[in-house]
Structures are given as structure tokens and as C-alpha cells.
């Protein structure tokens, strides 16, 4: 691999890290489509994406380990269900790969998922809503209030199919519901090469009723294992390329520090619309790549790659630019408020 390509992966990692550190989601979601667009086989795109997710989640979990926001019982149950899901997801990819259609199917699912989440986040931003992103940096203790539990979770908790499991915060839920959520997210992880946090965290909150801070901590804890297991499984298929993962991880760990620091400086709601647009850009990029294959138009493949890089650059740039502006404003206000000698 050339030095230029290594540098490009490291730079891409920085952009992804800024996004993950700031929004707490979305970073790894761009890696697999980017690798697919660059022409890597689906097993390398998915396997390397999962190994990257594993490395990032280790770093994020180390940062959160002292906050006491992990439900280990729930985490272990999630790991069991997720492992089964990843294995089934991997078999699906290999099955479609043998049939020669895995890139197409993975790409189509990506287009719909990225597009749907992008529309959701953009719509919420325009409405002034507050639930378009997943906050992985919740630092306060979980306070359980029944009015905070979503109605769907209350409904699901009311189905008392034994055995019932007691979770932190006094939540009781059926073991089967936990395993079903875990299996579904594991399937997505194994099939698409993503950590699954963008769907598991809201699933833990909206479906199981776990308080958000505990959902975040448990999600991170679980991603370490699902990412590690996924990497192990895909490495056996020759799907993990360390020359891709190592520079991406080095860049993203640095970017995540910048992104995390920016959360205390910039209002997330001011930037969330860019994040939604970035996901829509990712969705268009994967669609453009598929169209270039169908109609044999190489220019569309270049457009696709440019869309992914530009949309990540736009949002990461917006985060950094807004942070610099906010810091300078604070500095100027501080100087004005000081009494003249």
C-alpha cells in the first residue's frame, strides 16, 4: 500500500473520529461504503469495517469505564444474541458473494438505511427536534423516571414472557425480547460491517426501556465484544486488512478527541442538520456507485467517492469551524468582561 493511500486512510480516520467524538454515531457507518466505493471486495470492506469498529469502541469504552453506566448482565445477554446474529449475517454475505450479488445487496441496504436515518435526522433538525443523534458522551448518572420510559418500551415490558430479567434502574423485561433485539443488531453488524450501535442504542432505549446513559454504556461495552468477535470471524475469511484498519484507527482516535472536546463548546443542534445531510450524501454515494456498475459509467464511481469524502469533510469541517468560532467568542467576551486597569 502506498504512503499516499495510508495518509488518505489516516485523514479519513480523523474526519470519522471528529464525527464519532461529536455526534457519538455515524463514523463507522461511512467506512464500509467508502471501501466498497474504492473497489475493495465486500468481505474486505465488511471485515475491515468491523475491525475498525472494534478498535474505536475499545477506545470509547476505556473513556466511559469509570462512569458506571454499564449493565453487565444486559451486556452479556446482548453479546450472546449478537454473536448468533453476526454469524448468520456473515453466512448471508458469503452466500450472496458466491452468487455474485453481495456488493449489490449490501449497497442497496446501505442506500435505504443511510437515506432513512439521514432523512430522520434532517427532518428532526428542521423541526427543532432533539432525538436525531445518539449521544455516546452522556456523563451524568442515570435517573430512572417512569415518565421517561417510552410508551413502546412500557408496552414491551408489559409482555411478561418468562424468564423475566431485572436490569439496572429497576427495569424488568423478558429475556426473549433482549435476545431478539441483540440478534437483529448482530445480523446487521455481520451483514453490513457496522457496530450496530446506531440501531442498538435506540433499541435499548425505545424497545427495552433502559435509561439513555445505561443504554449508551452498555452499547459501547457490547460493541467491544461484537466488534471483536466480528473481526475474528471475518479475519478467518481473510476479510480484515490491517493496512486499512491501522491508519483509520490512528486517525479516528485523534479526531475523536477533537470531536469530544467540541461537544462542550458547540451546540450539537446547530450542526445536526449537516450530519443528516452527510448521511444522505453517503446514501447517494452508494447509489451512484451501483449506477456506475449497472450502466458502465466510471465517472459515477468517481462522483460517489467524492460525495463520501466531501460530505464527511463538510460536517467535520463544520464542527471544527464552529468550535474555533465559539472559542474565539468566549475569549473575546472574557477580555471584554475584565475590568480596565
Amino acid at each position: 500500500m502506498s504512503a499516499a493511500l495510508l495518509a488518505m486512510f489516516a485523514l479519513f480516520g480523523v474526519l470519522i473520529g471528529v464525527l464519532f467524538g461529536f455526534f457519538g454515531m455515524g463514523g463507522s457507518f461511512l467506512v464500509t461504503p467508502a471501501l466498497l466505493v474504492m473497489g475493495y471486495p465486500s468481505r474486505v470492506a465488511v471485515g475491515s469495517g468491523l475491525a475498525f469498529v472494534f478498535g474505536t469502541s475499545v477506545i470509547a469504552t476505556l473513556k466511559h469505564r469509570d462512569l458506571g453506566q454499564v449493565d453487565y448482565k444486559l451486556g452479556v445477554l446482548m453479546i450472546a444474541g449478537t454473536t448468533a446474529g453476526i454469524e448468520v449475517g456473515k453466512e448471508l454475505v458469503l452466500h450472496f458473494e458466491a452468487a455474485g450479488s453481495s456488493e449489490l445487496i449490501i449497497s442497496v441496504i446501505y442506500v435505504f438505511l443511510l437515506g432513512a436515518i439521514g432523512l430522520f435526522v434532517t427532518y428532526n433538525s428542521l423541526r427543532g427536534g432533539d432525538d436525531g443523534g445518539l449521544d455516546h458522551d452522556v456523563d451524568h448518572d442515570a435517573e430512572v423516571d417512569s415518565s421517561d420510559i417510552p410508551d413502546i418500551a412500557k408496552k414491551i415490558q408489559s409482555y411478561r414472557i418468562p424468564p423475566m430479567i431485572s436490569l439496572r434502574g429497576g427495569v424488568q423485561v423478558s429475556l426473549w425480547m433482549i435476545l431478539a433485539v441483540a440478534f437483529a443488531t448482530g445480523l446487521l453488524s455481520g451483514f453490513l460491517g457496522v457496530g450496530g450501535g446506531f440501531i442498538r442504542m435506540p433499541a435499548l432505549f425505545y424497545l427495552i426501556g433502559v435509561p439513555v446513559p445505561i443504554a449508551v454504556g452498555t452499547d459501547l461495552f457490547e460493541i467491544v465484544f461484537s466488534g471483536g468477535i466480528g473481526s475474528f470471524i471475518w479475519a478467518q475469511e481473510g476479510g480484515v486488512d490491517l493496512s486499512i484498519v491501522a491508519p483509520l484507527l490512528a486517525g479516528s482516535a485523534l479526531g475523536a478527541r477533537v470531536g469530544s472536546a467540541a461537544t462542550s463548546i458547540v451546540d450539537e443542534d446547530d450542526i445536526k442538520i449537516y450530519f443528516g445531510l452527510m448521511l444522505l450524501g453517503g446514501s447517494l454515494a452508494v447509489a451512484a456507485r451501483e449506477l456506475s456498475r449497472w450502466f458502465d459509467l466510471p465517472i459515477l464511481s468517481d462522483v460517489s467517492f467524492a460525495l463520501i469524502m466531501l460530505s464527511a469533510l463538510l460536517v467535520a469541517g463544520a464542527v471544527i469551524y464552529s468550535s474555533v468560532l465559539a472559542l474565539r467568542e468566549r475569549s473575546a467576551e472574557g477580555a471584554r468582561s475584565q475590568p480596565a486597569d
Partner: protein, 51 residues
Amino acid sequence: MFGIETLNGPAYSAAIVGLVLVEAMVLYVGYGGLTRAVGSQITRAVAGDDG
């Protein structure tokens, strides 16, 4: 890379996962130290503070 090509099967996979884990921990410690060492200076420089 790192001579792990000579391994095969589960040993190769375990080596891959182990290398990613070690890199993640080194990055966590390394960037953490860097942040503590120069983080506040960089923040002040970006903010345009003189002091």
C-alpha cells in the same frame, strides 16, 4: 504485516484482533498523554488568547 501471515486459522484471526486491541490501547494512552501535555496550549492558541 508483523509476520502474522505465517499463522493460520484461529491463531491468525486472534493475532489480528490482538493487534487492533493493542493499537487501540496504545492510541488511548498516547493521545491521552498528548492531550494532557499540550491540550490547553492548543486550545488557547486556537482561541487567540495571548496568555
